[in-house]
Point group: C2
Chain length 160, copies 2
């Protein structure tokens, strides 16, 4: 058996490697939180950061910012509410919306969480040899994907 088949495959192995790498990060982040008895989950991180920056946001706004479906955000934020990290206020101007914000508990605990998140960033940086090249290369692909989607690109290459 190959040392690493996905790597050996080159280009076609890319997407599986993206998934594998992400799964590893999420898994180990979850382990880390568990070990420290933190009752937060890995995918809450970006929601916390968003709400630190924006004070209040709707479900749809969060979904768009994170590139997830709105039902995903409903579930995620419901859990965060259950744990007391998020409070929601019905929007008075538009009654369909509810504005989500960090609770007092969240604001009190976030400074400690930032210590862990910062350590995570340092760990990441270290694994990336202290440069942003991976991020840059990702951006290139993301930008291309925005310009024209992958399916269309495949079709174009078939017609040649």
């Amino acid at each position: 058996m190959d040392n690493d088949f996905l790597v050996a495959m080159g280009y076609p192995g890319l997407t599986a490697r993206l998934k594998r790498l992400n799964d590893a990060f999420v898994h180990q982040t979850r382990e880390f939180y568990k070990e420290r008895d933190l009752t937060i989950e890995p995918n809450w991180h970006m929601v916390f950061l968003l709400l630190e920056k924006h004070e209040q946001l709707t479900v749809t706004e969060i979904a768009e910012a994170l590139g997830l479906s709105h039902p995903a955000i409903v579930k995620l934020t419901t859990k965060m509410k259950d744990k007391g990290y998020i409070s929601s206020v019905k929007d008075q101007k538009d009654k369909r919306k509810s504005q989500l914000q960090l609770s007092e508990k969240a604001k009190k605990e976030i400074p400690e969480l930032h210590i862990y998140w910062d350590a995570g960033v340092e760990a990441l940086k270290e694994m990336m040899n202290d440069n942003q090249e991976l991020l840059k290369q990702l951006k290139i692909v993301e930008d291309h994907l925005d310009e024209m989607d992958y399916k269309t690109r495949i079709l174009n290459h078939l017609d040649l």
Copy 2:
């Protein structure tokens, strides 16, 4: 709202971007297959390639090569069997194992599938500006992760 919050976040946005990018590729590949009335799924690709290269493999071998759990492979290959792409033979030397291989149908259809997969590779290459820099950068992170896991690295940075 930011143009792209995950990108703006830099390092901490990385894992969410890996997921988002992978999801986009998988989604659009699925759409492509559907449009061409191909009854295959995106994550079968690597299994096809593995079995082209290795003639016959067990569930566990495939799981290890792809970095997935064995139950994932059981489900995936069961579907491929149902569609007639994989046949399995009980291993005579070790009766716990069954050796999976490409069916005749698979061998007949694979040349056509390669046309599509090749177009996909061309599309990918194009999005990566015809270079392997992203793959190289990924490899760096993967190798570091193999050396020492992310959780341990976070802990190390906390102790400083």
